[in-house]
Amino acid sequence: MIEVDKISKTFRVKGKEIRALDKISFQLGKGEICGLVGHNGAGKTTLIKILSTLIVPDAGEARVENHDVVKEANFVRKLLGVMTVSERAFYYRLTGMENLMFFASIRGLSLSEARSRAKELLEMVGLLEWKDIPYMKYSTGMARKLALARALITDPPVILMDEPTLGMDPISSREFRRLVESLGRNRTVLMTSHNMVEVEDLADRVVILNRGKLIASGSPRELKERVGTMKLVRTKMPDSRLRKYIVGLSDQYFILRVPENMNVEGDEVSREPATLEDVFVSLTDEVDSTTNRSRGGGGWRRWAS
């Protein structure tokens, strides 16, 4: 179980304040897989790290299995399986097996426990035949599976994963999803992702962050129902506010994919039920603030033509 209660975090870099999280609240129960989504810089990693006890929040409270992540950090650590983004976070010259044994040992397993647990996990994530190959030879997919195996060493009730399928090919990521699905049955899983198809496939719950604020949460179905039906509209020159809805362009026209109740000039081509990607696009701001600023207003018209 995970409870997040008005969690806020502001970073200060050279006098500048970055409000990474602004009073975030939600709860997840056992057996739930939650997809945490949002544009780059929305605050996903910060939230995952706060729950992992790796970042201390400024305000608010968070609990893992009823234990406070700040006041009882040491206890909470025992309950967590964590997978960070960094693919570099293994020892390149050690094999997959040695790496797992290393991390099992420092998590407090005895030598024989570490050995049998490492084997078991390698088998489970499908890396057994690669166990004696140095980590530096692993593909991205294999590296991510090894990271999942590491997160499972202590058989934790709560799993936190930051972009676990980043850089994986479609088959690996499908395998990965099935693995997470089976793990999620009797655990609480919170994972970030930019892949809406993946989140739609895997998550019982979706939490959407936008510039550090929680703007929507619910099951994929609830969220899609909230946005409803999308219409495809062919139009000449869309308003710059609409650029995030552009899904196609030709010499003369733009194709926009907008919620049906939105007033847009042009010819309606067809209607389709909203996907999770539509939900994301409709609810969040266009792009993250930094790229938006550096690109400058109106620049999109140039790339569009």
Binding site: T84, S86, A89, R93, M101, A104, S105
Partner: protein
């Protein structure tokens, strides 16, 4: 607890397996232990009796003890700072924070690997000393006591240095000082008595200076604990300050990084 599995992990896997996988590096390491002994051996023989006026009966013996034990401080400190820096860049540091025993365990076991490799180094140098006919008269008990105090003071300094690494990332002043100045200031290859008095005063603020003097008494002259009591007391005092201060500063640096979100490279 799993001490055995942690020794396996830190000393064998992350220490020896990785160190020995860099074959050239390993050979260079060993050469860098051995060559200075011969360099100073010839310096000593070419200067002949000159050194006796500074109260050194055998320069080779003096140098062998100095070189054998200096690494416990300088190389442990730099090894741990570099180690920590790398774990930060790789992002493995976060898994140490989550580990049983946390970052304190990380530091102690990493220092233990440093001590292990330095002991091989020290063994090799003392062995060469034997071949060069150094006249050892070792009092085992007092040697072990001074040695243990040297190690624990190195641990204290390592924690301070590691704390700096966490806080300032680049340009760690402690690590720089100890890797650059110890040979000059702590009586490794020449007695501190030849130094200008103000540098000599600084050298007295380094535990290694005292430990080397103590070890020369206990390993070359066979002094018992009574003979080096003054030195032992000074080393105890260093430890009484360095260990709590180091532990506090080291943990503070991690807590600060957790507040700033800079545990791993941001």
């Amino acid at each position: 607890m799993g001490v055995l599995s942690k020794l396996y992990a830190y000393i064998y896997l992350r220490g020896f397996r990785i160190w020995s996988s860099y074959k050239t590096q390993m050979v260079l390491n060993v050469l860098s232990w051995i060559l200075p002994v011969f360099t100073y051996y010839f310096v000593g023989t070419s200067l002949g009796g000159e050194l006796e006026s500074f109260g050194i009966s055998s320069y080779t013996a003096f140098v062998v003890i100095g070189l054998a034990f200096q690494g416990y401080v300088s190389s442990t400190i730099t090894t741990i700072s570099q180690r920590l820096r790398n774990e930060q860049l790789y992002g493995t540091i976060e898994y140490y924070v989550l580990s049983e025993g946390g970052v304190l365990s990380f530091l102690i076991y990493s220092a233990l690997w440093g001590f292990t490799i330095n002991s091989v180094n020290a063994g090799v140098i003392l062995g060469i000393g034997e071949l060069l006919h150094v006249d050892f008269h070792v009092n085992v008990l007092s040697t072990l006591i001074v040695f243990a105090l040297l190690l624990s003071s190195a641990l204290g300094l390592s924690m301070i240095s590691a704390g700096f690494t966490m806080l300032v990332k680049q340009g760690n002043p402690i690590s720089f000082f100890f890797s650059t100045f110890t040979t000059l200031m702590s009586g490794t290859v020449f007695p501190v008595t030849v130094l200008p008095s103000w540098i000599k005063d600084i050298s007295l603020a380094i535990p290694l200076t005292w430990a080397l003097e103590g070890l020369r008494f206990t390993m070359l002259e066979g002094y018992g604990i009574g003979g080096v009591l003054g030195i032992v007391e000074v080393l105890l005092l260093f430890n009484a300050v360095l260990l709590p201060l180091g532990g506090w500063f080291y943990l503070y640096s991690f807590n600060r990084s957790r507040r700033k979100g800079t545990l791993s490279e941001y």
